[in-house]
């Protein structure tokens, strides 16, 4: 094929045989690239199913029972534990954290007797004050405050463990202590806690499918595909393009 005299051409309509082969190579690579990147994400979207965490099911059952007037400690513990598992996530929006903290305090107050509540509540103001100072402190003062907070937390965790059933040094106990507040808790039907079921549903429901559940080299498969494989593919496509182009130039004896 010879060049036309008007020199008009485009990617899809090259004017030489060499151009036609390059076009095929480019379009093939572009197609693989697009399907592998965007096609996979579309597939992920198509097959996904909103899947609740186990703790959401526990929460919903406990919440319904409590609304019906139940005082069963096991139900209250389930109510508390499911909220603790949500509050422990560190991507919670501040406005939603307020709701969760209110829910946790309500559940905790429902579990404890007055004789236990008073010594726990007596320790809280000191810890809260120390935490406020911590943000502005430096060097030795910072270390002293940190150690002081750790001591109070350890005491509180030991005191609350028998009531909640949490391991005294476990993460759930730490999260509980960090959420405790002084003062009377909000009621289950209060405006603050009205949105609790919606907040729990928001943070405990995830888009899952066989692509996310299947494990590959320890990864959830979709995560491996996107974070590791696609990058390998990109390098591979670039390598392939250059090798094919160099070969074509050698075959056609084209020199730069």
């Amino acid at each position: 094929m010879q060049p036309k005299s008007d020199y008009h051409f485009n990617l899809f309509q090259p004017y030489t045989e060499h151009g036609r082969k390059i076009r095929n190579l480019i379009l093939t690579i572009l197609a693989v690239w697009a399907v592998c990147v965007f096609g996979f994400q579309i597939l992920l979207k198509v097959v996904e199913k909103p899947t609740p965490e186990a703790s959401l099911n526990r929460f919903e059952a406990a919440y319904a029972s409590l609304q019906a007037g139940s005082n069963d400690p096991e139900i209250i513990r389930a109510f508390l534990h499911s909220q603790i598992l949500t509050a422990g996530k560190n991507g919670i929006k501040p406005v939603d954290r307020v709701v969760l903290v209110a829910g946790i305090n309500l559940a905790f107050q429902m579990l404890v007797t007055d004789s236990v509540r008073e010594p726990i509540m007596a320790k809280l103001p000191e810890m809260i004050t120390m935490k406020e100072k911590l943000a502005k402190s430096r060097d030795q003062e910072y270390l002293d405050l940190k150690t002081g907070i750790s001591r109070i937390q350890a005491d509180l965790m030991t005191m609350t463990a028998p009531l909640t059933g949490f391991t005294p040094e476990g993460l759930e106990a730490v999260i509980l202590v960090s959420c405790l507040k002084t003062g009377a808790p909000e009621g289950l039907s209060s405006p603050v806690l009205e949105s609790l079921p919606a907040v729990m549903k928001l943070y405990l429901t995830h888009n899952q499918s066989f692509l996310t559940d299947f494990k590959f080299l320890g990864f959830p498969f979709h995560y491996f595909y996107t974070a590791v494989f696609l990058l390998i593919l990109f390098v591979g496509l670039c390598l392939l393009y250059n090798l094919r182009l160099d070969r074509r130039m050698r075959v056609e004896k084209i020199e730069e």
Binding site: F9, S150, R151, S178, T205, T226, F234
Partner: protein
């Protein structure tokens, strides 16, 4: 809490606040090296300043591409996005690497064959239009400017962390140093520095990943694969205490290596993260297309001796980039676990890489090296951006438009004045802290995707694209850019324009190129076809015989 944990809590160092001697020495030594290299390889004429005298090898150019590319957004911002937004953060990883495939197969070799120094040079020549040259020169400056803002923010964060000074002074000092050596060296010194900077970035970034995976009992011989089990652990939760060989795994605060089940870290477009499928696709697409339109990236292809070198330098560059990008999620994964204790709380996203290394109780000197690596990343990118911006100012505006008869000495002076003006202005904007590093950088990508990319793509691959089409297409791209930026600025100032929520979502300033780039291309094609003045024969002939043979 055990006594051991209390003792450990009493001996830890703060994540922020104090002057760190070891990291400061490493930082100063690194900066001195940059300046000395800049002086030793300084530019002697405009050719050296703009295009490094075309003396750079394939691997060297690949390292320079990688270093030039990997900014504070890559080293600091990307892990921060994954830490904060889970799977949606991966859109940045894929977007910033996948764009190189487009760049290679559609542009790299052809740009080198065309033989111009700068992006506005190419556009002004290809579309035989002084107006387009001026507009794209202005946009080259704006794109470089937007990109630099995020970098200066990253430099400020790291200087603040190392020197224990406030953010304002940290940004001012960091900006002054990067300006100094860019002025002294130009592109040739910058290119040599970029190779050194790449080595610092990759070494400093990879070492902590081996240590973290080893320390917390994951497969450490290949961290980019080894952390997969950590991702699964985050999804399923790690109950405390986590025991290994009878001893609990602890973070630097003496807290258990434990986390509540957190599928939101890995599951796609998780409702709790406030991100959507559309945003993933839009960010990824915008970054990919923007990659192929960034003036300072395109400009790197002018510095290699041959066309095949331009192509192969992309492959090397992408491979070098991927070495770091494969490892970036490791920091977000370990950061997620190590900061899961309520006392640590949610950490500043842009500093998560450094915080993770600290929380993982890695030796302070290695953390200091990591911070120096982050600064190197920002420096290398900033120097490339400043050169691209200064080139647009001096070469495309001053020499080609304002004073064509200027001497080489005068050109160099104007380039340096342009660099200073840009550096000072960027510093002022960076002090405003307008967003996360990766997000600020995304603005530059979307701008490039809407303005420069369509002109290059059609200019190289379609002789039918003419001046009228190019102007109309560019106008469409600029219009989308202006709408998005206007709504963003109004939103920032607390105001609301009609359709504020709608525009802020669908034409968000971080990813408006998903519609802006295709629209610009379509408008260019339609107007070119309707126009009665085709591309001149000599340009078509040049494209056919010189660029596509």
């Amino acid at each position: 809490m055990t006594t051991t944990a209390i003792i450990l809590a009493g001996s830890l160092t703060q994540l922020e606040g104090s002057f760190k001697v070891g990291p400061a020495i490493i930082l100063i030594a690194t900066l001195l090296t940059f300046v000395l290299v800049g002086i030793f390889f300084r530019a002697k004429d405009p050719s050296d300043y703009y295009a490094a005298g075309r003396k750079i090898s394939r691997v060297g150019s690949g390292m320079a591409i990688a270093s030039n590319w990997m900014s504070a957004a890559s080293v600091l911002g990307m892990a921060g996005m994954m830490y904060g937004f889970g799977y949606n953060g991966l859109a940045y990883v894929v977007g910033w690497t996948g764009g190189y495939v487009l760049l290679l197969i559609l542009m790299a070799g052809q740009i080198r064959k065309y033989g111009k120094y700068t992006a506005p040079d190419f556009i002004g020549d290809r579309y035989y239009s002084q107006t387009l040259r001026i507009i794209t020169a202005i946009f080259t400056i704006l794109i470089s400017f937007a990109y630099c803002v995020g970098q200066f923010g990253g430099i400020g964060l790291m200087f603040k962390w190392i020197l224990g000074m406030n953010y304002t002074w940290a940004v001012i000092i960091g900006s002054s140093v990067v300006l100094l050596y860019t002025l002294i060296s130009g592109m040739i010194g910058a290119t040599k520095n970029m190779q050194i900077q790449y080595v610092i970035i990759v070494v400093s970034f990879l070492i902590p990943t081996f240590i973290l995976t080893f320390k917390f009992d994951y497969f450490w011989l290949l961290p980019p694969v080894g952390y997969g089990a950590a991702v699964t652990d985050i999804v399923q939760g790690i109950p405390a205490p986590n025991l290994a060989d009878g001893a609990a795994l602890l973070n630097a605060y003496g807290q258990d290596f434990a986390i509540v089940p957190s599928p939101e870290f890995a599951m796609p477009w998780d409702p709790g993260s406030g991100t959507t499928f559309f945003q993933w696709m839009a960010i990824c697409f915008s970054l990919m297309v923007g990659t192929a339109g960034l003036p300072h990236v395109i400009q790197r292809f002018y510095v290699v001796p041959k066309v095949s070198d331009a192509r192969w330098s992309v492959v090397w560059g992408l491979f070098f980039i991927c070495l770091v990008y494969w490892c970036a999620p490791i920091y977000s994964a370990f950061g997620k676990i190590l900061s899961s204790h309520p006392d640590v709380g949610s950490l500043a996203k842009d500093a998560i890489v450094i915080y993770t290394a600290q929380l993982g109780n890695i030796h302070p000197l290695i953390v200091g090296l990591l911070a120096a690596g982050a600064i190197s990343a920002a420096f290398s990118t900033v120097s490339g951006l400043l050169v691209a911006g200064a080139s647009a100012f001096s070469h495309d505006l001053y020499v080609k438009v304002i004073k064509p008869s200027s001497t080489p000495r005068r050109q160099l002076l104007v380039a340096r004045i342009g660099t200073i003006i840009m550096g000072v202005t960027v510093t002022i904007v960076a002090l405003m802290k307008l967003g996360l590093i990766a997000q600020l950088v995304s603005v530059a990508f979307s701008m490039a995707a809407c303005t420069i990319f369509p002109l290059f793509l059609l200019g190289i691959w379609w002789t039918g694209s003419n001046r009228a089409g190019a102007k109309a297409g560019l106008f469409a791209g600029i219009l989308i850019t202006a709408i998005s930026l206007t709504y963003f600025i109004v939103g920032l100032s607390g105001g609301a324009l009609p359709g504020q929520v709608f525009i802020s979502y669908w034409l968000n300033v971080w990813y408006f190129a998903w519609i802006g780039a295709p629209l610009s291309i379509i408008v260019n094609i339609i107007v070119s076809r309707l126009s009665k003045n085709p591309t001149p024969l000599e340009i078509r002939k040049f494209l056919a015989e010189q660029v596509h043979t």
